[in-house]
């Protein structure tokens, strides 16, 4: 069955489906008509370098592949749609076993044309130590990004995806599998795009796998940011933390839904998820729905929480007593709020780079 036929065979998801409750499939679909697969799709332009622009070291490569990435999800309408769009726009990034590099890799993904999509397969070798920044930049009105990957035994891997799209819609579909003792941090930084639907799934498939997922989302104007993060503990002694911070200004809407699953037999699993929202205007809206599904009795911990509120007036007063004007204090608190997840995302090099990126986006938050 072709990718197109495969997509068309999947019924459009109902809004009763937790995943599509806040952003119905037709709203994120490029034409608004789920039965359509747009023609004339443009490939994304990708470039992988070291962060300083230098060439890739030995043991790291990028190559074109046939686009057939799939997830462990029978009715994966988002994944099937991106596959249908981007069969000929797919790459594989390979980090060989034992590769250790001291600066992050930078993958720049530029969407082109009206509708654009790409599939990226990421293979991180055993005992490697690397960081990957993926910068999604503007171009197309609609962009579909599908990333799947495997983090092999004992690899240490930091991954950050930065959404810097302009007036575009983004559908981001993701699934990564962590094998034994892999130590992985996934980060999402969102400050661009008019509408984003993210469906991010992480599977702890090896004993001792350690996962941190962090989000720093800066919403302004009429942006709509909906991220669903699913973490599945399938093996014993696995660890995960999800921390998602969103600032919501203007008339923007931010949604964070989490699903934490601990499979039967995943004894000694330790997991927690928290969503925090900073509301910057009366018209902004934030919804956070963390959910748990625990099928194993012997777990170390499994918690969830969420909090939403405006800028704290006592914090504002404290900063003003230190010479910061109203706008200065407010900007500092917004940056601090986002930094508390941003700073968890990787090395100091990444923080510095991201800090500059975030600071530059603050002017449009009120």
């Amino acid at each position: 069955m072709s990718s197109q036929a495969e997509y068309l065979a999947i019924p459009a998801p109902d809004r009763a489906d937790h995943l599509w409750r806040y952003t119905p499939w037709h709203r994120i679909h490029p034409t608004g008509k789920p039965e359509e697969i747009p023609s004339g799709v443009s490939p994304a332009v990708v470039s992988l370098t070291m962060l300083d622009g230098s060439e890739l070291p030995a043991g790291v490569s990028i190559s074109a592949i046939e686009g057939h990435l799939t997830r462990k999800n029978e009715s994966d309408v988002g994944g099937a749609f991106i596959r249908a769009l981007s069969e000929e726009s797919a790459v594989k990034i390979t980090i060989d076993d034992g590769v250790i590099i001291d600066q992050p890799l930078l993958l720049t993904v530029e969407s082109t044309g009206t509708v654009s999509g790409i599939q990226i397969d990421v293979s991180v070798g055993a005992n490697s130590q690397t960081e990957l920044l993926t910068l999604i930049e503007s171009g197309a009105d609609w962009f579909g990004l599908m990333r799947c990957g495997k983090i092999d035994n004992s690899a240490i891997f930091n991954d950050v995806v930065i959404n810097r799209l302009g007036a575009s819609k983004l559908l981001r579909i993701e699934q990564f599998t962590l094998l034994r003792d892999a130590q992985v941090k996934f980060g999402t930084v969102g400050s661009g795009g008019v509408q984003t639907k993210g469906d991010l799934r992480y599977i702890l498939e090896g004993r001792g796998a350690n996962l941190q997922v962090n989000g720093s989302i800066l919403s302004a104007g009429s942006q709509h940011n909906d991220h669903h993060v699913e973490i599945m503990h399938e093996e014993p002694e696995t660890f995960s933390r999800l921390k998602w911070h969103s600032t919501c200004g203007g008339k923007s809407r931010t949604i964070g839904t989490g699903m934490l699953r601990i499979a039967q037999g995943a004894k000694g699993s330790d997991s927690a998820q928290v969503f925090n929202n900073l509301l910057l205007s009366k018209d902004a809206e934030a919804d956070s729905i963390p959910e748990l599904e625990v099928l194993e009795n012997e777990v170390v911990g499994c918690g969830h929480g969420t909090a939403s509120g405006p800028v704290d007036e006592e914090q504002m007063f404290y900063l003003k007593t230190r010479g910061f004007s109203d706008n200065g204090a407010r900007g500092l608190l917004i940056t601090a709020f986002l930094n508390s997840t941003l700073n968890e995302m990787g090395s100091k090099q990444i923080h510095t780079w991201l800090d500059q990126l975030i600071s530059g986006g603050l002017s449009s938050t009120s």
Binding site: R322, G323, F324, A329, L332, L333, A336, S340, N343
Partner: protein, 252 residues
């Protein structure tokens, strides 16, 4: 007494809603002087501190506060800070995500403006202050007051006092929550930085005044200063408590 180098508080009345908290505070402080303000819980000490800094919760219903003849009550808190008013908080706010080093650098730039030291000079000045306060370099990478012990919070407040070089320093119960060694260290920091400032130390206890010698001691009761004197007044309060003040007021 208006003029250069003088902080004047005149007939200051302050309320929250319908409740009057300060009922006519009069206090004059010259730069270089250390004044201690003592009083029971709820007497209005911390309210005075916050009002001087411009906390929006309080309404000044009468009176004035001037520095060198300039009214500060009409100024925003950040304008007061830039004019040289500093408040060391009893309970400083934590700001997760804001690193101490970054915060200090930006705050110094905001307050000292054109006189902000260049990066190298600032680092040198910061190191000198941190050494004096026995603060580890790792402190700079932590988030402001986030997970700090009581002593660490007070050290950070005094570190800011030292770097911001105010004209009027109001220290609200800076001694609370400090052990003896930390108190001595913090007092060293205070002494090193208030030589050119009018300093108002708000405290319950004599012990900080053993290390930071006040020129004047004032007692506040029910939102009004009822007694003023030299350091011996603090010793008398330590010895006799506040009851005798009530008796003297009744007798008078």
């Amino acid at each position: 007494m208006s003029g250069e180098g003088v902080v004047e508080i005149r007939n200051l009345h302050v309320s929250i809603g319908d409740e009057a908290i300060l009922n006519g505070i009069d206090l004059t402080m010259k730069k270089g002087e250390i004044h201690a303000l003592m009083g029971r819980n709820g007497s209005g000490k911390s309210t005075l501190a916050k009002v001087l800094m411009g906390h929006p919760e309080y309404e000044v219903t009468e009176g004035s506060v001037t520095i060198d003849g300039e009214d500060i009550l009409s100024l925003e808190p950040w304008e007061r800070a830039r004019l040289g008013v500093f408040l060391s908080f009893q309970y400083p706010q934590s700001v997760p995500g804001l690193q101490v080093g970054n915060f200090l650098r930006k705050s110094v730039a905001a307050i000292r403006g054109d006189n902000t030291p260049k990066a190298r000079e600032f680092r040198k000045e910061l190191k000198t202050c941190m050494d004096l306060l026995d603060v580890d370099k790792k402190f700079l990478g932590r988030y402001v007051n986030d997970g700090f012990s009581g002593g660490e919070k007070k050290r950070l407040e005094i570190l800011q006092l030292m770097l911001l070089k105010p004209q009027l320093a109001v220290l609200d119960e800076t001694d609370s929550g400090l052990d003896i060694d930390a108190l001595r260290t913090v007092a060293t920091g205070i002494n090193s930085s208030v030589g050119n400032a009018a300093c108002l130390i708000i405290t319950h206890y004599q012990r900080i005044l053993d290390h930071v010698n006040p020129d004047y001691v004032h007692v506040i009761v029910d939102g009004k200063i009822v007694a003023s004197g030299g350091p011996e007044l603090a010793l008398k309060l330590e010895d006799k408590g506040y009851e005798w003040l009530g008796e003297e007021r009744v007798a008078a």
